[in-house]
């Protein structure tokens, strides 16, 4: 059994679209955090009184989704479909192997820990 952590970094204004796409792809376990990053997009210039600055970092949302093998591609597709605008700054997806997963409530491990429970 192969487990992967899919990390998707997307625009904040597309986060809701991504969540919707993930939901449609039956991917239910998601964490997200606000991050700042720089990925080659042009800087935006802001002015506060006499101080003009180039904002080198843009706000992004970082999704972290632990999935079993067969869900890796649907998760990637959902991140792409929901997050794409076509402009520079749409973000990146990283897929990394997972050594172990434990569900804290039950102590279940690995595949059973990333399988959604029906409440």
């Amino acid at each position: 059994m192969v487990l992967k952590l899919v990390i998707g970094i997307v625009r904040p204004e597309k986060a809701n679209d991504v969540l919707e796409a993930l939901y449609r792809a039956q991917v239910r376990g998601v964490s997200l955090s606000r991050v700042q990053g720089h990925g080659g997009e042009l800087d935006r210039v802001e002015t506060y009184r006499g101080t003009t600055v180039k904002m080198g970092l843009a706000d992004k949302i970082r999704f972290e989704i632990a999935v079993s093998d067969e869900f890796v591609q649907p998760t990637i597709d959902a991140l792409c479909d929901g997050g794409r605008t076509g402009d520079v700054g749409d973000g990146k997806i990283f897929v990394v192997p997972l050594e172990r997963v434990v569900r804290i409530r039950t102590g279940e491990t690995d595949n059973r820990a990333v399988t959604p429970v029906n409440v």
């Binding site: 204004e13 802001e46 506060y48 600055v53 180039k54 970092l57």
Partner: protein, 428 residues
């Protein structure tokens, strides 16, 4: 100083003018809390810009059109650019004409700012400025003439103490028209669009209430009995609205909400605005309690429609103002206001004139605003692009953020000859 000026009245009106001006930034805070964080500054700036626009158009022609003469529909141009507006009081008044003009200017300003609630988060700032200037003359000045300045409603006998016609119904029904013409936000009905800072909302509402003591308490233009009555009713009526709102919230959602409370304060202040100096304190309490019901109903119903009248100006101002105007027709009491009785005290004519105002003012405000924005839409885009809307109005309209962290910001010194600012929209 001319003999007929009363120093006590003048002192109070100087303070009241400043109190009413405070209401506009307070409204900015209230509105800014209700929108998403990326639109905070733009929303606040729409209110701030109302001060810039309103004060200037008012001094130029607005005041004259509203308060010069007793033409049925609109005043004259005799006071354009403040001609003959000096220290001499107007007929029958005890404060300098100049102060009266300044006091009325603050009403024009807050009314413009109120409409912005219907179009926040998507209307272009430039288009808003143009709209605000035209609206202040075409709609506000005309309705101020009808309700305050000597037009057909006030001459006929309509009672409107502090602006149920020109401020509340005008802004509420104009807001509805503006929301229809400008159109809904792109995410409206698809995503939950929530208030980003409910503390701003409550604080803004509290400051509005504070300012409203000048708004209603000053609308008698003296320190006389009607002013004291209006001042006191401005305490009682919103308090009753708050209590009823608590009950309605609890019945509907099992919890009393803070944003609901802020809304109730506004609704209560609006309800008593037209009626403040005309109804007894007891009837003011009743108005606050009963008047909360239709406003609450519209606030619950409106988000189920396709009309993105974003911050519910129609419910909180249009419907509440209309309710207050009609209430006078039933419950005005001559032994409290020394002017006229309502239907309950045997004077049906009063109700007729209140009902006329409640039909004519909303109709005029809605139709004129609708036509004005439709015409403006032919010569300029009213709203920003979907792309800019999703990035947020603060960055795209003003090049600022409300909550800039400064992390990763690179200082650009002006001498360094940097390239032209590159908006996010043009990223390749």
């Amino acid at each position: 100083m001319p003999a007929e000026i009363n120093t006590g009245d003048t002192a109070w009106m100087l303070v009241a003018t400043a109190l009413v001006l405070l209401m506009t930034p307070a409204l900015g805070l209230f509105y800014a809390g209700l929108v998403r964080g990326k639109n905070t500054l733009n929303t606040f700036m729409m209110c701030v810009s109302a001060i810039a626009i309103g004060a200037v158009t008012w001094a130029a022609v607005g005041y004259s059109l509203a308060f010069d003469g007793t033409g049925d529909l609109v005043g004259g141009l005799g006071h354009a650019f403040l001609k003959d507006v000096t220290f001499e009081p107007r007929d029958g008044m005890t404060i300098p004409h100049l102060l009266f003009m300044a006091y009325q200017a603050t009403f024009c300003i807050i009314t413009i700012a109120l409409i912005s609630g219907a179009v926040v988060e998507r209307m272009r700032f430039g288009a808003w400025i143009a709209f605000a200037a035209l609206w202040s003359i075409l709609v506000y000045a005309v309705l101020a003439h009808w309700g305050f300045g000597g037009g057909w409603l006030i001459e006929g006998g309509t009672l409107d103490f502090a602006g149920g016609i020109a401020v509340e119904m005008a802004s509420g029904f104009s807001a509805l028209a503006a929301a229809i013409v400008v159109g809904a936000r792109k995410d409206y009905g698809r995503q939950a669009l929530l208030p980003h800072n409910s503390v701003f909302v409550l604080l803004g509402a509290a400051l509005l209430w504070f300012g409203w003591f000048g708004f209603n308490g000053g609308s008698g233009f003296t320190t006389g009995q009607n002013s004291v009555l209006a001042f006191t009713n401005t305490l009682l009526c919103p308090a009753a609205s708050l209590l009823v709102w608590f009950v309605l919230d609890a019945l509907r959602g099992r919890r009393v909400t803070a944003v609901g409370a802020a809304t109730a304060i506004i609704v209560g202040c609006v309800l008593i605005t037209p009626a403040g100096g005309f109804v007894s304190p007891g009837w003011a309490l009743a108005l606050g309690a009963a008047g909360a019901l239709p406003c609450y109903a519209v606030i619950v119903w409106r988000p189920r429609t396709r009309v993105d009248e974003t911050l519910d100006v129609l419910a909180a101002h249009g419907i509440a103002g209309l309710t207050g105007i009609l209430f006078i027709g039933f419950f005005a009491q001559q032994n409290w206001n020394a002017i006229s009785d309502g239907l309950l005290y045997g004077n049906a004519t009063q109700l007729k004139w209140q009902a006329l105002a409640a039909v004519a003012a909303p109709a005029y405000a809605f139709a004129m605003t609708f036509a004005l924005l439709k015409l403006m839409g032919l010569v300029m885009p009213l709203r920003t692009s979907e792309h800019d809307e999703s990035i947020g109005m603060d960055v795209t309209q003003h090049g600022e953020e409300a909550y800039a962290s400064g992390e990763g910001a690179i200082l650009v010194s002006p001498e360094a000859g940097i390239e032209e600012p590159v908006p996010v929209a043009d990223a390749v």
